[in-house]
Symmetry: C2
Amino acid sequence: MRIAVAQLNSHIGNFEGNVQRILEAVAEARAQGAELIVFPELSVCGYPPRDFLEFDDFIRQVNDALAQLAAVTQGFAILVGAPTRNPLPEGKDLFNSAYFLADGQVRHIRHKALLPTYDIFDEYRYFEPSHHFEIIEFRGKRLAVTICEDLWNVGNENPLYTVCPMDEMMAQQPDLMVNLSASPFSYDHAEDRMHVLRTNVLRYNLPLFYCNQVGAQTEVIFDGGSVIMSPNGRVYDEMPYFEECIRTYELDEVLAGARDNEQPRHKMALIHDALLLGLRDYFGKLNLKKAIVGLSGGIDSAVVTVLAARALGPDNVRVLLMPSQYSSEHSIADARALAENLGLQYDILPLQSVYESYLNLLEPHFEGLPFNITEENIQARIRGMLLMAFSNKFGHILLNTSNKSEMAVGYGTLYGDMCGGLSVIGDVYKTEIYELAEYINKDAEVIPVNTITKPPSAELRPGQKDSDSLPPYDQLDQVLFQYIEQRQGPRELIAMGFDETLVRRTLRLVNINEFKRHQTAPVLRVSDKAFGVGRRMPIVVKYLS
Amino acid sequence: MRIAVAQLNSHIGNFEGNVQRILEAVAEARAQGAELIVFPELSVCGYPPRDFLEFDDFIRQVNDALAQLAAVTQGFAILVGAPTRNPLPEGKDLFNSAYFLADGQVRHIRHKALLPTYDIFDEYRYFEPSHHFEIIEFRGKRLAVTICEDLWNVGNENPLYTVCPMDEMMAQQPDLMVNLSASPFSYDHAEDRMHVLRTNVLRYNLPLFYCNQVGAQTEVIFDGGSVIMSPNGRVYDEMPYFEECIRTYELDEVLAGARDNEQPRHKMALIHDALLLGLRDYFGKLNLKKAIVGLSGGIDSAVVTVLAARALGPDNVRVLLMPSQYSSEHSIADARALAENLGLQYDILPLQSVYESYLNLLEPHFEGLPFNITEENIQARIRGMLLMAFSNKFGHILLNTSNKSEMAVGYGTLYGDMCGGLSVIGDVYKTEIYELAEYINKDAEVIPVNTITKPPSAELRPGQKDSDSLPPYDQLDQVLFQYIEQRQGPRELIAMGFDETLVRRTLRLVNINEFKRHQTAPVLRVSDKAFGVGRRMPIVVKYLS
C-alpha cells in the first residue's frame, strides 16, 4: 500500500484556501501513486481555532469543506482532521476528530481521547474526550488512527491521562499506526517528540506515519518534521522543518526499515528558521507585505531587522534611525552599516525637535522636577509614534524588538519600544540573542561586529548602560530560565546557588511587570514557556513581589 | 447550630494578608456566637491564581497558611477553600478543595468535582475532578459540602457534566448544604445564580449556606451576594453585593424559613457598583492611589472620570484636557464643567505645538501625501503620551476610556486613546454608556447634559462624527451583542432581520481588529462575554473577514 503524508500549513478559518490546498495535495499524492493521504490535526479549519469553535457557522463551514473533500475520493482515501459535533447531549459540544473519507463518502470518524489542557493548549475548553477505540480497515490493512497527544501516554505512563489509546487498539491487531498532529515547535521539542514516537513504535512493533502541521498560527509555530518510522525504530523519513511537504511511501519498504533519514537539529538554526516562518506566516496569512523596524544600533533591533529582511525580502523592510541627543555616534554608524549590508531603505529622523516641543509643553507642569524616567520614556515613545506614523502612512507593520529578558523584568517603555504588531524575539533571552547574532553572521558579517561587542544600552540618558539597572545578563537569564521555564521558586533557586538578592529582585521584577506584558504584541514562541497564551498570570497579585 | 458566612475579598498570592483577614473574620464570627465559619472558594490564595498554581512554592505557602488557620480552631470550625496536592500519580497535580479545620487540625478535605473550563474559567488546566462524595459530620449535623460549580448540575441536567455531587451525597442524609464559591459578576448572573440555588434547595429540601467571594481580581469582578436559603426556597438572607460581609445564622431559624431578604437588582446600578469595585481593587491591591484620565468633553471619558472620582476620591483623580485644532469650543467647556462638578485638578495642554513638530519632522518623508488617518492617529497618540508623561512623573495610573462598541470594531488608536493600565468601560456598549450616564446623573447633573446629548465625535479632523465611520450605535450594538455575547453567525443574524451589509461589515470589523484588542489593558468584566480572558480568538485568521 502506498501512503502519502501531507505536512500542510493551514490558515485558520480560511476554508476555501484550506480546501484548495488539500485538493492540490490530493492531486499530487495521486500523481505519486498514493492510495491514501494523511493530513494534520484539524487541518480543515486550522489549529488552534480557539473560540471560533463555539460558533455554529464555523462548524457548518467545516462540514461543507468535508463534503467537498469527500467528493474527490473515488478510488482513493483521505484522512483529515476536523472538529465534529458530539451527537450526545452529555459532554462538550465537539470532538477533535479524524475523518476517513473514501469512495465519495465519510467512511469513518475517530475522535481524540487525550486532550492537552496546559501551556498553550485549551482542548478541554472545547472538546469531549473519546472513550471508544476502533481501528480502520482499508484495502486489507488495519490502521490504528490516533490524534497528536493520543500517542503521548505510552503504556499509561503519563500521569495526566488514564487511558492509552494504542494499548486499547492492540487487541484489534493493527498493521500500522497513523497519527494526525498539530505539535508546536520549541527548540528542544523535536527531540522529545522523536523519543516519544520511537517508544510507541518499539512498544507496538508497528510502523508509524506521523503527520504534523507546519506553519505559524499567530504566535504558535508548528515545525512539521513529520516522521515515518519503521518497526525497528529507525526513521524511514523525517520531513523538513518549517516548510510544506507531500511525500508518498510504500508501506512494505517502511516495514523493511532499511533507511535512516533523521535530520540534524541545532538550537540556533531551529530558532532562526522558526522565527522566519513566524514572520512569513504572520504577514502572509494577514495579506500584509511590508515591515518597519526602529534601528538603534543595538543587537536586538539588528537581529529583528535581519530576520525580517530574510523572511520578507529586503524590498519589503524599511528602517528608521531615530537618534536622540543621548545617542552615541557609533549607534548611527552601526545602524546605517546594517541597513546598507542588507540593502534596506532607511531614513534618519532626529528626535530633538519633537522632544523639545514635549518638554516645552510640559514645562509649566513639571517645573522644578528633575529629569527622570519620564523623559527617558518620552524619547522611547516618540520613536514608537514615528514608526507608527510611517506604518499608518505607508502600510508597513511595525515589528517589536524586545527580547525575553527585557520583557521578563519590564525593561522597556510601554507605548514606546514595546510597540509593534508582532514580537519577533520576545521568547529569546538576551544571552541567546548573542548566539543568534553569531549564527546570522556565520557566513559573513551581516550584523556589524561592533553591534555585537559593545555593552547594551538604551541610550536614553548620558552614559546609560543596561547594567546600571539590571543584573548582568548571564546571571539574570539563568534565574529567569529557572523561574519561567522550570517554575522554580525562591527556595529552590537559592538552593541551586543563586544569590538571594538577585533571586528576590528578579522574581519581583517578573511579577510586578505582568501589566506591561499584558499589553504587548503576540510573541513568536520558540521555547517551552513563552510569554503570552502559554503563561497565564493574574496582574493584580502580591506574590514574591 | 450557629453558622457564620464570611464573604471576603481575597488578594491573590497575598498569604499574609489573606490569613490576617480570615483570622479577623473568625474573631468576629466567634463574637457573633458562631460555631462554624464558611469562607469562599480558594480564599486562602485568592481566586483565580492561574499559573501560580504550577509553582511548588505557591502551594507550600498555601499549606503554611492552612496550618496557621488550623491553629485557631479550638472549640470552633473553619471551612475554607484552598488547593490541595493530588496524592496519586494519576491526573492533574492539584484538587480545588474545601478544608474543614477544627480543634487545631485539618479534619476533612473535600474536592470539587465539576470544573468549569469555558469563558474565563480554566479549572481543568490545573485541577483533577473529584469522584468521591462524602458528607462531613460536625456537632451532630451532617453537612453536604460542595464547591461553586458543583451545584450547577442539578439532577444532572447540565450537559457539561456527568455527575451531580448533591445527588451522590443524598444517600448519606445530610442536614444542610454548604457551598464555597467564587462566582463572577455579570449584570444578569445574580438572577441565574438565585434560580440555580433555589432549584437545588427545592430538589433536596435542605437549607443552603452559599458563600461567594467578593472583590475584583484584575478584570474579573466577584459580586458577593452570598445566599442563605431556607428549604422552602425563601431567601433567608442575601448578603450585599460588592462589599465584604460576615454574618452568623441560627440553623433552626433558617430551617423555619420565615424571612425573605432578597435584594433588588437593577442593571445599571449593578454595573455602576461593579465598576467602582473593579477600580478600587485594581488600585488598592496594587497599592496604587491616583488615577489620570484624558477628558475630551465626550461621554466615555466623562463616565470613566466620574467612576474614578467615586471609586478613588476626587483628590486622587487628575484630568488633562488636550484640545487640538479640531476640537470644538463646547468640548473644552463640557470637560471643564465636569472637572469642576467633581472638584478635580485639571490642566489644559493644547496639542498644536507638539503636533506641528511631528508634522515638520515627517514632512520630508510624507511630502505630497494627503492628510489621512496617520495625522488623526498622531493627535490621539500625543494625548496618550502626555497622559503617560504625567503618569510617569507623578505616579497617576492612566485609565483607558474605550467602550465595548469601539473596542469591538477597532474604532480607536493603538498607543493613543487605547492607552491605559485598566479598561474601565471596555465591556459596556456605547448605548449602555448613555444609560450609565443617565444613572450617574439620576440625582444631580454631574455629567453635563451637553456631553450626553451631542453626537459622538473623535474630533480628529474638521466636522468629524462617529457616524461617518460607523453604523448608528443602536444598530451596531445589537449586532455586536448577538455576535459576541450570543455567538450568532451571519446566517442567524440575517435571519433575525438585520441588514446583510451591516452584518457582514460589523463581523468583519470585529474579526480584523483582534490585534488591537490583544494589546489593550485588562477590561473590567460586567457582561457574560467580555473582551479579554473570557474570549480567546486567534489574530491571524481569515474568517468572516
